[in-house]
């Protein structure tokens, strides 16, 4: 109480509310993931496949209208072991955040790696999605609980360049 009286300032919190729109490309991606499908989009110019798609190829500045069905497996492009708890994050550290490059995609997205000892995780390791039960699916990439190793032979990280041409 004494401390309260010592205050010579006041806090003036400002909050703003928004109706967020994902954009038409990402909306289609989210609608597909709600049905257990992963949909990317292909650039008509450089052929790169983006997932999740944003509706444009930032390399060429053109709309990516062609939709590509992608598998729920690929490899680890990069990863980090998180030891420090992140406020508001329900996952107990240590855990692994990894950039997952799905087969057929030219970019990766962030997801979790589980069902493996931390020290065994490698760049190039083949992984596959572990889905939540279908009844829990929503319009979110969190329909995938995490990725787990498939046990297949690793991919050469050199082959993970954004684009070969």
């Amino acid at each position: 109480m004494d401390k309260e009286q010592e205050k010579d300032y006041f806090e003036s919190l400002i909050s703003l509310e928004y109706n967020f729109t994902a954009g038409s490309a990402t909306t289609r991606f989210l609608e597909a993931i709600a049905k257990g499908n992963i949909v990317g989009q292909k650039c008509p110019k450089c052929g790169a496949v983006y997932v999740p798609p944003r509706g444009s190829c930032p390399r060429d500045g053109v709309p990516t209208l062609e939709e590509i069905q992608l598998p729920d497996y690929g490899c680890i492009e990069s990863f980090t072991v998180v030891h420090i708890p992140i406020p508001g994050n329900p996952i107990e550290p240590p855990f692994v955040s990894a950039m997952i490059r799905l087969d057929g995609a030219n970019i990766s997205f962030l997801h979790l790696i589980q069902e493996i000892a931390l020290e065994d995780i490698r760049i190039g390791m083949r992984v596959k999605a572990v889905w939540k039960p279908e009844t829990e699916w929503t319009t979110s990439l969190e329909n995938i609980k995490w990725f787990k190793p498939t046990g297949e032979v690793d991919i050469n990280p050199e082959s993970l360049k954004f684009i070969s041409s």
Binding site: I14, L16, T21, D60
Partner: protein
């Protein structure tokens, strides 16, 4: 001094709510269009500059996402202003003058429909003394209109005239929002938003994007571009403290006009970034033209894309000169509350 001209301009059809389209999807068509009309590609562009406000999207560094709309490989030189794209044009102009670039692409975008625009704009105010009180942008505009009425330089009749003129002129502007043209009685009965401003006096919340290309004289010759010259351009800012300002004047605009030394009576077209009816009246007086003459496009009262509407005033002036319906034009862009910061561009055709 190096001559720099506007060679292309493109604007989306302004919408009150662009729905599910995101900012990238709004920007891409205007950038493609302006490149197409000038027969240029991104590889000809030496410098790219955008104007936008992250608070409209509600995400830090949201402007970076906007770059997904343009070709960025091979890597490009680019910059951004957290204000109207008229100032992105100004930065590009300086970069060209300094010899850093020959051709520059400028774009501005704003999707205001997802948030509460009035609240968002109050966050641009002084964060210690004014912003915590949350006066919204219409409250502040109302203050200005009130001080003008008290000073005897504004009447409701003049405000009404500005609305009817905007509504009429907007009909000839394919990208404008169609607004109500109330009768005098309807106007007087109009719902007061912030005295004396009614909903008719305020520009509509708008979503959209615009793009422009400017180039040096040499580049215009090389690429066969037909420029409208930016003869003079400058900007000036008034105090951020509203209490220090005389709200019945727009000193930065008067000062700039004095510096420009242009004969106002010789100007064929004037477009101003006036977001409220009383601002139209105020600037038409400063520019020495009638309320009906200013803003032949309809101005922001028929479409006010945040962070693009100032560039649009310049763009609409350019279009009039490009199609030879005018020889000289003056465009005005504003930023901050109650016309705090102002930019003027005097455009001219080769005669």
């Amino acid at each position: 001094m190096k001559r720099i001209g506007i060679v292309g301009y493109s604007q989306n059809k302004i919408k009150r709510d662009a729905g599910s389209a995101n900012e990238v999807e709004l920007i891409m068509p205007v950038v493609h269009k302006v490149l197409e009309t000038t027969n240029l590609t991104q590889s000809h562009i030496d410098f790219t500059c955008s104007g936008s406000c992250d608070y409209l999207q509600g995400a830090a560094f949201a402007f970076v996402e906007g770059l997904n709309a343009i070709q960025t490989y091979p890597p490009i030189k680019e910059s951004h202003v957290e204000m109207d794209a008229a100032w992105a044009l100004y930065e590009s102009y300086l970069r060209i003058l300094s010899g850093e670039a020959e051709i520059a692409l400028v774009y501005g975008f704003g999707k205001s429909s997802p948030g509460n625009l009035d609240q968002i704009m109050s966050l641009q105010l002084d964060p210690y003394y004014v912003a915590p009180l949350s006066p919204d942008r219409v409250n502040l505009a109302g203050l200005q209109a009130n001080s003008m009425i008290k000073a005897g330089i504004l009447t409701r009749e003049e405000m009404y005239l500005a609305i009817s003129a905007a509504s009429r002129n907007g009909l000839n502007n394919p990208n404008a929002i169609k607004i109500d043209n109330p009768s005098w009685d309807e106007y007087l009965m109009g719902e007061i938003v912030s005295s004396p401003l009614t909903k008719f006096d305020c520009s509509p919340v708008s979503d959209g994007a615009s793009a422009m290309i400017i180039a040096t004289e040499d580049a215009c010759e090389k690429f066969n571009l037909s420029p409208v010259w930016i003869d003079k351009i400058g900007h000036q800012v008034d105090s951020a403290n509203l209490g220090f300002r005389d709200l019945t004047q727009v000193k930065p605009v008067s000062d700039l006009l004095e510096k420009f030394k242009i004969d106002l009576s010789s100007i064929d077209v004037i477009e101003s970034h006036t977001q409220f009816s009383h601002e139209v009246v105020l600037l038409s007086k400063i520019f020495n033209c009638s309320i009906e003459e200013i803003n032949p496009s309809g101005g922001p009262l028929v479409g006010n894309v945040m962070m693009a509407a100032g560039l649009d005033a310049i763009g609409h002036t350019f279009e009039k000169l490009q199609n030879h319906s005018a020889k000289t034009g003056l465009a005005h862009a504003a930023s901050g509350p109650c016309l705090q910061q102002n930019l003027l561009a005097y455009l001219r055709c080769d005669s």
